[in-house]
Symmetry: C2
Subunit: 435 residues, 2 copies
Amino acid sequence: MAHLECSVCGKKFELSYLTEGHYVCDVDEANLNFIHDYEAIAKDVRENGLNREQKNNMFRYSAFLPVDSSKLAERAPAVPVGGTPLVSAPRLAKELGIPSCNLWLKDDSKNPTGSLKDRASSLLVVRMQEDGAPVITTASTGNAGAALAGMCASTPVRQKAYIFVPKTAPAAKIAQLQIFGAEVILVDGTYDDAFALCLEASSKHGWYCRNTGYNAYTAEGKKTVSLEMCEQLAHGGQFGCVHHAQFVAPDYVAVSVGDGNIITGVYKGLRDLYKAGLIEKMPKLVGVNSDKSNWCATAWKKNLTPAEMLTMEPVEANTRADSISAGIARDGINAVQAIRDTQGCFVEVDDDSILAHIKTVSQATGVFPEPAAACAAAGITKLASKGYFEGGSTVVAVMTGTGIKDIPAAVSVCGEPFVLKRREDGQFHLEDFMQ
Amino acid sequence: MAHLECSVCGKKFELSYLTEGHYVCDVDEANLNFIHDYEAIAKDVRENGLNREQKNNMFRYSAFLPVDSSKLAERAPAVPVGGTPLVSAPRLAKELGIPSCNLWLKDDSKNPTGSLKDRASSLLVVRMQEDGAPVITTASTGNAGAALAGMCASTPVRQKAYIFVPKTAPAAKIAQLQIFGAEVILVDGTYDDAFALCLEASSKHGWYCRNTGYNAYTAEGKKTVSLEMCEQLAHGGQFGCVHHAQFVAPDYVAVSVGDGNIITGVYKGLRDLYKAGLIEKMPKLVGVNSDKSNWCATAWKKNLTPAEMLTMEPVEANTRADSISAGIARDGINAVQAIRDTQGCFVEVDDDSILAHIKTVSQATGVFPEPAAACAAAGITKLASKGYFEGGSTVVAVMTGTGIKDIPAAVSVCGEPFVLKRREDGQFHLEDFMQ
């Protein structure tokens, strides 16, 4: 059985602590982390393989997840979360300056609502049904809310959700919340304002709170991205057979970082595999911050302890990459510890580079990333220029969300296309375009 | 070996006819259809299973496709096309009025660029490499162009594409063309104008022409959607093992229809399986037309022969469902013949019903369809109200494209969300939202 540990003081809690309405440590209010019985997981996977009833989605790895796997058929969303492509990207490797490396994109923009956040929300809607919660709520910069709204619409019995989003979120993300039928509260303030309002609503009305980096299940759901990439690396980019699970670790994983919860999830998935003896080494994690939302990189550079990070001031957060714009990194302590534990690094990039990399990634791979996802590629370029990556190594960049939700960002780097008009003779003339 | 047959006069052609720069019949300029050696396909699939090197994408079914399967590793797009979810939708079945049926959504919005058109473009970019074509071009209402641009960006050696699109296409679709690096010509006219310009450019510059329903490969690529849905139906919605291919046909397949090429592809996939003895019956096909773009339904109601359809006048085409707005149904003859051959039917729905079904589908399944995809669900509702579907039958509705590319359509049925503002005391008050 799993238990929980505080990310700062290390205090241990039974899982039942979470079902009693608690989310964080009762000593220092720091986030909690799941600690699993890795020997039991290893035995289960070696003897039984993966979950064959759920083989085309993230519950394929139910052995690693805190859910009642016997009830998934009646509780899991009908749309498959996870099972996303691992895309070989040799042309992009050249563009980013690591031509000798095996570069792969883990394309999580292919999740049902277009972002990696579906992994957290999928696990959460299963858990809320296990725990008998009538209503779920979250604060979101857009993607996490869309993920929750989509998963609530997709469960066998539709779940009710209230979602707090800053009014400045891209229109496409807000429309997604509505089309899936969630109750939407546009907050005329920042993500941090939305976060505080969501906590207040959760405590006042007894709603189950999905807030990222606060609810320990979010990183547990997100960790499945690492389980998948390691299985896919063992099979040339494809998924293997559920009866004989095999995993291979990359050398580096690059992830953009805002509140720190995704890289925490990536780390947990890798660590679970490592502790279970299913991969032979831990990859180095590369956390890429926007220089306009750099809580984690700042804490890492200052070499702060977990206790010091707990009281660190917010940073200014106004990057164009909305999904990673967060003044307070709600899972920053775990994120910084993940980088330290894997001897990786943080790197900061500017918005111009982030936007330019949307185009670079799209044209070299056919994967169209949102700004926050392109940020990971921008980080690779910056580190590559300093000779950071060892030649011949395997590098995975996690594409956390789709660019199709943020068309203005794409247009800003593409310009306006040519318009062919009728001439005065009423006809189109091809030569007006082709000189 | 496969050969080609004219859809009107039945004249036969060797495959080499296509590589000599021809696209349509030299007698009547009607579209050509692939006729395969079904016994050979059946033998291959029974003895060797499916393509295990390509098992997570549509080339899993390379035995059914006119491609050199030994070269797919170096020619196929790196992003996996196909392998899309088949989503069980019992709540939606109730909403649409067929509560006793097993309703599934074949969610092709999960393709790399967000639409079923990726299947055609994926096959085409492989063929253009086989045939040594330097440049490819297409006319498109948006999705087909985005698909071609994305596939050209994703091949191991990047391919060059010119794309003609009506200026009125949704902004997100135009941005996709650009971000993938295609040369974009926005035509200040209709799709039919773009189509004519593309043919002219192709003939003048020797470019390979991907035009939908003109190039016979488009329907061949799209047929993989049927191969997948039948394999998934044999395994409770999941894909089976590549070593032992199994297929089960549904009773009905509902598809929205514009130029008729998708339903033609759907039909071809089913017919291939049936002729190879891999499914036991042909499902009834249900073609759903917008009443504002109803070429196919009109030809079907008038009971026109293929030769009569060849000279049929264009209809007015101004439905809000841009992807199926086509005055001339370029593959209409095949589409109408598919409905006749399967004893299915056409049904017409209005734009209000199409838009309302975006919300209905999204809230009951977590799949967010574009207007043209929601059209298939609207057609089911209309037919169900007349008692069309036999109780207990299996119905598949093909979701041909993602709603995230057409946010204004979604907003039009959702209204504006609530905005929470600070009061004069500078604070947010939850009770301003929750009375």
